[in-house]
Structures are given as C-alpha cells and as structure tokens.
Subunit: 271 residues, 2 copies
C-alpha cells in the first residue's frame, strides 16, 4: 500500500495556540498512520497574501489592464509563476489529503490563508472552465477545514444570530474546495476553545485525535453532480429539479427554494 | 445640511479595470452631490493584509500565546495600533457611507480586502460583546459591497451550481458589516463584465451611475433585531421564532428551517 501524503496549511501566529495544538495532533497521528506530512506554516513563512504582478516572473502580457487570472494562467503555462506559488502548487499536487487549520476570522479564513487560495489555486493549475466541481482537477484529493470559532455553537444555529453554520461554510467548501474538485470531508469545528475550561479544550483535542485515526477513510460531503446542471447556464436542468430534491435533497447553496437540509455542509449524506 | 463623508475601499490592481471605472463613477457622482470622498486604494497603498504582532507598536502582552483580538484591543485602548490601521480607523469613523469596490475572488473578497477587515475592525474599536449587530458601534453608518463576478448570474441562482448568491453574501454582509452595526445597503453586483460586450459594460456603469444619485437615501437590508435573541445563547427566544417567521420572515442565515426568502441579502424588505 503506497504511503499517503498529507499537506497541512496552517494559519496561526502563535505556537502556544489551540490551533497549533490541533495542527500538532494531526501531524503526530497521521505520521503514526504511515502518512508523510508536510506543513505550510503561513505566518512563519511570511506567506505573501496579496495577488499582484510580482507573482509573475518576467513580463506580464497586459500591464495596462492587468487581469490576475489570465496573467497567472499564462505564467503557469510558461513556468513563470513565482517560486513561493510554485512550491505550494507542488505540495498540493502531491497530496492525497489537505487539512486547512485556522481560527475563523470574520466568518471565513484569515487574510493570509485567503491569500494562499487566491495565489495558489490559479486558472489552469487548479481549475478551467471545463474542469470544475465534480469534474474538477483535484477530484482524487480530499480536503478538510479544521478551525476554531470565537462564538459558541448556539450562535451558529438556524435560529442563531450568526446564522446557520452551513450557510457560512458554503462559499468556502463549495466555492473554493469543491470548485477545484476536492472531495470535501466534514469540517472539524472547535467551538470557542478560548472560552472553554482546560478540560473542555482537552476533550476537543481528544475527539480530534480519535477522528484523525480514520480520517482517510471518511466519506465526503455531498454536492450536486455537474451533469445535473445545464452546461450553458449551470442551473439544474428543469427535469432535474424535482429529481434532485427527491433523490438526495437540496444543498445549502443549490437549495431550489426548499428549506436547507440540516447539516448539509457539516455531515456526509446518510450519516 | 452637513456635507456627507464617503469612504471607498478599493481593491483592484489595475487602473484599466471595470472595478476602477466603477470606483471612479462613485467618486464623481458622490462629489457632484456635495459629498467629500476619500479612497483607500489598497494595492496602491501596498496595504498589509496579514494580522501580526507588528500591528502593535511596543510590547505585546503575551508573546508566548499571541492572541490577535485581545492584543489589538489592548493596543487600541492605549493608542498603540500601527499607523496604517489607525489611519483607516479614522477614515471609517468619519464616514457616513462606506463602499467596498472589488472583484469577487473565490466567492468572497480578495485577500488584501480581507486583511483590511481583519486588521481595521479591531475589538473595542469596531465591536464589543455588548455592541454588536443592531446594537453595533457603526449603526449610524451605511455600508455597501460593490463587486464584479467572473460567473454569470444564472450560476448564482437557487438552482445554480454556485448556489444562491444570498448564501454567499450572508457571511460578508451579516458576519462582517452588520456585525459591526453597519446599515447594509443592497449589494451592487456587476455580473461577469469581462464576458460582456462593450455596450453591456457601459449599460452596467450607467445603471450604477443612476443608483449612485439616490444611494444615500436608500433603505438598508433587513436583519433580525438583537432583542429578538436570547442574550445568553444568541438564539431566537422560543416565543419569537414564530413571530419572526410571520412578521418579517427568516433571513438567509437565521432561516429557522424555513425556505430562504428570495433576495433576502440583495433587496431591502418591502421593495
């Protein structure tokens, strides 16, 4: 059995943080399962977050009207993306599983991790118009968001003031990960560890440790398959709307005007 | 009548872009309406996107276990936030209206603008545990997302593969803007201008121009008021769930298990 490769993209400033402990747990358990593990420690790397012309070595095609997606596509074709991007792309391409470990900042990833998505997942390398979603380039790779919140779980319920966590997860899990084809595993959410007692934090880490043992065998979340959609409008084909609703239900984003299914972005179907 | 102050936070690399034209239109129209307009041109400013200890002048309280929210709260109390953050906070505090102009990157703001949110909206300055949402610090200020998409509008419908745009907007509009109290005006969405013919782009800019004339008098989007929620769990008080659903309907996030109301994050109620 070939060794599995894991990439952990880690975004916390402090080695004393709960996020650091969660990252360390993943490194230890996955190594003990004979995985090879690479960590991209974004703050330690001083990872550049902003998408600029400096991400391209040599001339850009249209400096007067610089368009990041088109320019990085061309640079990727010609091997002229900057060294830091190329190195992250290499790690991603080799990985069987990618874990993103971060504290939730303003209902999404911190800017340094958003910068990793903006700069590493370039057109051509990570997606094309033809290769997206269930036809996506990374459809053989698993990916997982593992994050801490500042708010308690109740605030992120369907009657909570922050709104249903499934809504907040949709743009990240469907719009970034699944867009590139990744099989998205259920998120690992550490609810407000900063407000928990030490025993509460230990219990959260212990549960993560247990989950990590079987992580590579987990079933991914469900997203509506590409062939249910019209290939011009990318809307569900009319004959598929009812079928989709009845067969496997709507998703948090492609909800078809139906109530959002509970935990659609938090648990695989049938669990 | 006092002159109104407008802040435009602008995030595009190129002066030749559609985003630049949309920003310029806002500057011109609002100046013609006797507003004073400031622009934070994030790429031109080389705005720092990542939240680090360098955002604090002098010693941090706990270097072993650096916690960004707590450290920046303390630094803000003591006037020790970095000069670039302090300057953006000054602009924000003076503004009657804030327009965020950007291209949608991966279903949310580009990293450089996420960095502006992460670093400028600090604990104490922009929110506290007591002052959030409809009790928020910026409840007298209006804010608006104005952005271009790469995808066509059909892809962001409730039967589209990108999912309902209202879902994608929720974390940004509720989780960042309304969280700080802002009255959120309907987003200005420029659907796929890069794929449009020149006349299509001109028509989009003309519609924006027209809207800008009356922008300061627009009614904001609806969010469930704070006093409908229990002040411990921040869930709707049980007696309010039905009332809320019947009186003004669920929102995209606080949906109470009901179908998402169409355009909840895109149009004010009653329009």
């Amino acid at each position: 059995l070939a060794e599995k490769k894991v990439l952990i993209v880690y975004a916390h400033q402090s080695a004393g943080s709960f996020s650091a402990a969660a990252k360390e747990a993943a490194v230890e358990v996955l190594k003990s399962k004979d995985c090879s593990v690479e960590v991209s420690d974004l703050y330690a790397m001083k990872f550049k977050a902003t998408a600029t012309a400096e991400d391209i070595t040599g001339e850009v095609k249209n400096p007067e009207h610089f368009r990041y997606a088109e320019e990085t596509k061309l640079a990727w074709d010609e091997g002229r993306l900057s060294a830091d991007i190329t190195e992250e792309q290499r790690k991603l391409q080799e990985a069987d599983l990618v874990i993103y470990q971060f504290p939730l900042y303003w209902f999404t990833v911190p800017a340094i991790l958003k910068g990793w998505f903006d700069r590493v997942l370039t057109l051509g390398f990570a997606y094309t118009k033809e290769k997206r979603y269930s036809n996506g380039i990374f459809k053989k790779t698993k990916a997982l968001l593992s994050f801490t919140t500042g708010s308690q779980e109740t605030m992120f319920s369907p009657t909570g003031i922050n709104g249903d966590m499934n809504v907040t997860l949709w743009p990240l899990q469907n719009g970034i990960l699944h867009y590139c084809g990744f099989q998205v595993l259920a998120p690992q959410i550490f609810w407000a560890p900063a407000d928990a007692a030490p025993e509460g934090r230990s219990a959260m880490l212990a549960a993560w440790n247990t989950r990590l043992q079987g992580l590579l065998d987990e079933k991914p979340l469900f997203f509506t398959p590409m062939d249910y959609f019209d290939c011009e409008s990318f809307q569900l084909k009319p004959e598929n709307v009812e079928k989709c609703v009845k067969e496997f239900g709507p998703t948090a984003g492609t909800h078809c005007g139906k109530p959002l299914p509970p935990n659609n972005q938090m648990k695989p179907r049938g669990n």
